[in-house]
Symmetry: C2
Subunit: 188 residues, 2 copies
Amino acid sequence: MARPRRRDDVLRTATTRFYEHGIAATGVDRLAADAGVAKMTLYNNFASKDDLVVAYLEHRDREFFERLDEHVADHHGNARRRAMAVVDVYEHYVRQDGFRGCAFINAAAELPRDHPGREVVRRHKAAVRDRWTDLIAALGHDEPHRLAHECCLLLEGAFVYAGLGVDDEPLAGVRELIHRRLATTTDR
Amino acid sequence: MARPRRRDDVLRTATTRFYEHGIAATGVDRLAADAGVAKMTLYNNFASKDDLVVAYLEHRDREFFERLDEHVADHHGNARRRAMAVVDVYEHYVRQDGFRGCAFINAAAELPRDHPGREVVRRHKAAVRDRWTDLIAALGHDEPHRLAHECCLLLEGAFVYAGLGVDDEPLAGVRELIHRRLATTTDR
DNA sequence: AAGTAACTAGACAGGTCGGTCTGTCTAGGT
DNA sequence: ACCTAGACAGACCGACCTGTCTAGTTACTT
């Protein structure tokens, strides 16, 4: 039996529209229409718009880490190159047409403080940092947590600047910066 | 003659409400009511809500740099300490009750790509980096642009993480990181 | 071929949105 | 004492919002 096709249609459409136009600016009527689905089908698959927002963020989170896993697998044997895979993935998103900054940060900016989606965002960013830590630990650094934190900040900062369009070649500088940082075994 | 008082009331109220609840989530009716002002007074002072949004962002930009100037002035004579004033100001915002991340990034996340407010945000972040560059150049570094860029990324990344509430003591790490970075005269 | 579960379009309710308009009131300047 | 600019409250507009409901249709399973 096929996966629930309509649900995927809705989720896929939400993924692009929520990102491109923002969550609040995307009404469920238009969303359903764009997905080629009746509004009731949307509400049969998701309890509410808020519920759909959470599903959207979880979907993006899954997609991100799948992509990261692929990039990491592409370079097995080369630990430093594997660590740089995180930068690769961020760069992939920056290069997308209609790039508008980090989907998670943008969502968090729109959601009220008690919205369950914010927790998804929080967990995602924490997971990214954990992944950095693992990859850096594999490099044999003495303080992987600390270095991972630093890489996170650099990359996240560059992602934000890229989203605002402050720079022309946004991630080039940070790639070099992180690459050099990973080479230094002493971290002071 | 007094400054246009009502206009300031509106702008001040917008500054808190737009930040705390988001721009889209703040209706003009409620905004006017909170400011203790008739809706028509709001529209007599601002052409549209979009216009008010731009004024809001410019107001925050002004406020930010005024605060920065004060902090810089507090440490005249000590160039490194002056540079760290940027971190001081960011920390001031992080410590505020109801801190919800960078007002400019949050606004940009909500605004459509062609909204004039986005340009204000872009200019603000570019101005912050320029200020970093000046402060670092005063330290006698050989490549102030490059180091300023790095400090920007670190601080901006930390600001984002702080806004999401990933860490408990969000800016402590980055302060030490930047402080140490500014000590190194060679920047490789 | 029959049954059933999922889908469809569209109306509907109750609210909020940005923005306009009217008519009244009040404070200051002359 | 009069005039005027600006602020007032509140009705009003059309558009859009989330979410519900109904009634008819499609498509798969047995």
